[in-house]
């Protein structure tokens, strides 16, 4: 005992203090002493004050109609992380420690608002790859800077920085700093968003420990359809037609230039009429690689689990869905030319000893079908033939027209609106939309696994490649996206998870991701249609930038599918439809 005291005293005298780590364990409740009207009752349209947003975000916000919350798929959508702590919230924090060493592995959070769960990993693990699903709370890692816990979060779904439509993209990264002083937790949130912010958006919120229990920990949300609405009705305002813009400034005696936000309005020297500030280079960047989604190495092909029996192969051009089970292997799409060896290796690793029995083509495009022949030949039907390729007959027709040899073409074609087959103990349902991005598209649903392979109807890396020359139409693309939404069912985690969607290109998604994409296509379509009806020329339409608010996320000035090509495709499609309508009316 004496030795123990002695040792303790020696340590007390000689040792440096251990790196302090503050405990945040407890139940916390927000104090809304800043921006309370925004944060608790809700905001007024057109208020962008205090946000370093860019012109794309303003366009998005100007188009925002609060009635969008009434859309079925939006009704139960939670706040995303950048807003979660700003809005009304209370949360519970507990720690996850290693059972043997008692080292802190993670901080766990449960938030009463939307019943969100969050894990902040403190064990040094890297952030997931870019093709991983995104969630409302994202993926968080933390590190201590003395008594300050610094958290970096990526993989956040698209959402809002302010509840009335100041958009936040799914490319955002949030850095938080947590500090505790007695019963006060102060949390700084710094959001970086190359799509919608000119520079990081810093906010700080205060929370206090709850002295008495609060029973308001549940958020039961059940969506309802109160009135019959068209799936094509996503509430929004066309450019220049939002009647509520300006109302906020007038009501609260604020300069109109100020409520429009922007970096320049945040500094003391700002005066009404000030010119927009030049963006600082790399203002939204600088993150350490381990704090950002990892990317595939050049030439790397990888299989990742999605859900149930279904996996996704990435890195081979278009995404490939692979279903494995007792019956063998079913492959949806075959990847780009030159990738087949790696694709086959990835498939074999998923199901050693199993044969590829079936293949499905979701389109005729070569980044999906160039691997047809080698992968088909590597497989065997139960009759000993090469693996059968199923596709809508238009796929075969388009490939014949393009001079693709027989050995690469699908022979199990269908002409009707769909086909289904049982395989590996689940229903595999193939749905063919009449004319989506082309007239060859198919969507494949694995019913028990609850996974959809969407083909190019849905992709997270670009605007949809609507190809009128190959039978594509804008409305058909929207209809196909709506069909996906009719199949998806989110989990009880409120618009998250449940049915997973493998896009033609990009990351694993769920219903919320698809609905945001559907909204985007529909809104841009509506804008261009309005311009067509006003007899604007294609050049005038392009100059009006009807896709401005989405260009930073899905657009491109170079490559095989540019923003200009996307706008032109919709313009021509809608112009042709208008002419056809006029001809029909005159014939009557």
């Amino acid at each position: 005992m004496t030795r123990f005291i002695l040792a303790a005293l020696v340590l007390a005298v000689t040792a440096s203090p251990a790196l302090a780590q503050v405990s945040f364990v407890g139940d916390w409740s927000g104090r809304y002493h800043e921006d309370q009207p925004d944060r608790v009752p809700g905001e007024e349209p057109g208020d962008f004050s205090g946000i370093p947003l860019n012109e794309a975000a303003r366009r998005f916000g100007d188009a925002w109609d609060v009635a969008r919350h009434s859309v079925i798929e939006h009704q139960c959508a939670p706040y995303t992380l950048p807003y979660m702590f700003f809005g009304p919230n209370q949360f519970r924090i507990w720690e996850e420690r290693h059972p043997d060493t008692q080292e802190l592995i993670a901080i766990q959070m449960y938030m009463g608002t939307y019943q969100q769960r969050r894990t902040i990993w403190l064990d040094g693990r890297p952030h997931p790859p870019e093709y991983a699903p995104h969630t409302f709370m994202g993926f968080s890692t933390g590190e201590w800077n003395g008594d300050v816990l610094t958290i970096t979060t990526t993989h956040i779904k698209a959402g809002y920085y302010r509840r009335t439509g100041v958009p936040q993209s799914d490319r955002s990264t949030v850095v938080e700093h947590w500090m505790r002083h007695g019963n006060l937790l102060s949390q700084v949130t710094i959001a970086s968003d190359p799509v919608y912010l000119s520079e990081p958006y810093i906010r700080s919120q205060e929370f206090v420990t709850m002295e008495r229990g609060n029973t308001n920990w549940l958020y039961n949300c059940e969506y309802v359809q109160e009135l019959p609405t068209d799936k094509n009705d996503v509430p929004h305002f066309l450019p220049g037609q939002n009647p509520f813009i300006g109302e906020f400034a007038a009501r609260h005696a604020m300069p109109e230039g100020g409520v429009r936000g922007g970096v320049e309005t945040l500094l003391p020297e700002w005066r009404p009429g000030a010119k927009p500030a030049a963006p600082r280079p790399n203002a939204n960047g600088g993150f350490r690689p381990e704090h950002q989604p990892s990317k595939l190495a050049v030439g790397e092909v990888k299989a990742v689990p999605v859900q149930g029996n279904v996996h996704m192969i990435v890195g081979a051009g278009a995404n490939i869905a692979v279903q494995v089970g007792q019956d063998g292997i079913l492959v949806v799409d075959a990847g780009a030319a030159g990738t087949s060896d790696k694709v086959l290796a990835a498939i074999k690793a998923l199901a050693p000893g199993k044969e590829i029995r079936w293949m499905v083509n979701t389109t005729f495009r070569p980044d999906h079908t160039a691997g047809n022949e080698p992968i088909s030949k590597a497989g065997r039907t139960v009759n000993g033939n090469t693996a059968d390729i199923i596709a809508h007959e238009n796929v075969a027709a388009r490939m014949i027209k393009a001079g693709i040899p027989d050995s690469s073409r699908p022979f199990k074609t269908f002409f009707e609106s769909g086909r289904d087959l049982p395989f590996n103990g689940e229903a595999v349902i193939i749905y063919h939309p009449d004319s989506a991005t082309t007239d060859t598209d198919s969507i494949v649903m694995f019913r028990r696994s609850d996974v959809i392979a969407a083909g190019d109807v849905y992709r997270t890396d670009s605007f949809p490649v609507i190809d009128p020359d190959n039978g594509g139409t804008t409305q058909g693309t929207i209809d196909a996206l709506n069909h996906i939404l009719s199949l998806t069912v989110p989990s009880k985690m409120l618009q998250e998870g449940g049915t997973y969607v493998i896009p033609g290109h990009g990351r694993i998604s769920d219903e919320h991701d698809v609905v945001m994409y559907r909204d985007m296509v529909l809104i841009i379509r509506d804008r261009i249609r309005d311009m067509v009806e006003k007899n604007m020329t294609l050049e005038q339409v392009k100059a009006a930038r009807p896709a401005l608010d989405y260009e930073g996320r899905y657009g491109s000035d170079t490559g095989s599918w540019t923003t200009a090509m996307f706008i032109e495709a919709i313009y021509k499609d809608l112009s042709a439809a208008r002419k056809a309508g006029a001809a029909t009316r005159s014939a009557r």
Partner: protein, 314 residues
């Protein structure tokens, strides 16, 4: 038994030594200096040398919160005190706010007092007045606050807009100076291998702000300030009052350097006012480090009149 006594004696000696060591630190903080043991005189520990964080430099407020009440003078209407946990008495006082009367009565600085100064858009220049006094200068209203680490310091007889502030370092690293620059985990962009200089400065920059991206940050500690003895002022430009009975506690953090190189200062302010508030009033204000103080332009206490409220037109 005898062996145990010896050990206990040794333990007692070490305990006394530990206490003495701690006391000498306190004494140094008071500026008493003094010698330890028979060796050469140790340099007295001052607030500056004990400081685990370097706050010096010029910081600009980036107004992303309460913009509508900070960047413009809000009107005197029903929502004038929104967000602030005021009581009926405060509302009554706020409704009688008269900007012109303030200006004529020499009370222009009511919105620039310690309870509201951090919420004014402006620049904050932080430097050491002396080794135990930190100086906060605000260009908005040309206000200066002196933060006394020295326990012997006493408030002046007359109350001022900025009152009397006692400061203390809190958290890890107090007494060890700021973290070395080479600690990339903390600085996110320091000079590898370069040693930090305790107290303030480093890299030959003593007396001036560290260059952007090379700033010594901190050990994750903070500064606590408790302010009393101030004149009644405004929490918000439009006359929401705080009283002389209030106590204002602040926690100042220099945040770890952001990945893009930005350095942020966070000021958490807690106003406890038995006269005008129903509960503690919490705000946190964010300032970004500037490369120099070229933007620091002192202006007199001046509050613009509110813009007229318009009826929204559709």
């Amino acid at each position: 038994m005898r062996r145990n006594s010896l050990l206990l004696s040794t333990a007692s000696f070490l305990l006394v030594a530990a206490i003495a060591f701690g006391r000498s630190d306190v004494a140094a903080q008071r500026g008493a200096g003094g010698q330890r043991g028979a060796g050469p005189a140790a340099a007295p520990q001052t607030a500056r040398t004990r400081g685990p964080v370097d706050f010096t430099g010029t910081w600009v407020s980036v107004v992303t919160e309460d913009w509508r009440w900070r960047m413009v003078t809000p009107p005197k209407d029903q929502s004038a005190a929104a967000s602030i946990p005021v009581n009926q008495e405060a509302r009554r006082v706020a409704q009688s706010w008269d900007l012109e009367a303030d200006n004529k009565g020499g009370n222009q600085c009511r919105a620039f007092g310690v309870g509201g100064i951090n919420r004014q858009p402006g620049r904050l220049r932080i430097s050491w007045q002396d080794d135990n006094t930190l100086k906060f200068e605000y260009d908005a209203g040309t206000q200066t606050r002196l933060l006394y680490f020295d326990r012997a310091a006493q408030p002046p007889a007359e109350k001022t807009w900025q009152g009397f502030s006692r400061a203390d370092w809190e958290g890890p690293g107090v007494g060890r100076g700021a973290a070395p620059v080479g600690d990339n985990r903390v600085t996110g962009g320091g000079l590898p291998g370069a040693a930090g200089v305790p107290g303030g400065g480093g890299q030959g920059l003593r007396g001036g702000p560290p260059p952007r991206g090379q700033a010594r940050i901190n050990t994750g500690a903070n500064l606590k300030i408790v302010t009393t003895n101030f004149r009644e002022g405004y929490l918000r430009k439009n006359g929401i009052p705080y009283s002389e009975q209030a106590v204002i506690t602040e926690y100042i953090h220099r945040l770890p350097t952001h990945p893009n190189g930005d350095n942020w200062l966070q000021v958490i302010t807690i106003v406890e006012d038995p006269r005008y508030l129903t509960q503690p009033y919490y705000t946190s204000t964010n300032f970004r480090l500037e490369p120099n103080d070229a933007g620091f332009r002192p202006t007199p206490c001046q509050t613009a009149p509110p813009l007229p409220v318009k009826t929204p037109s559709k």
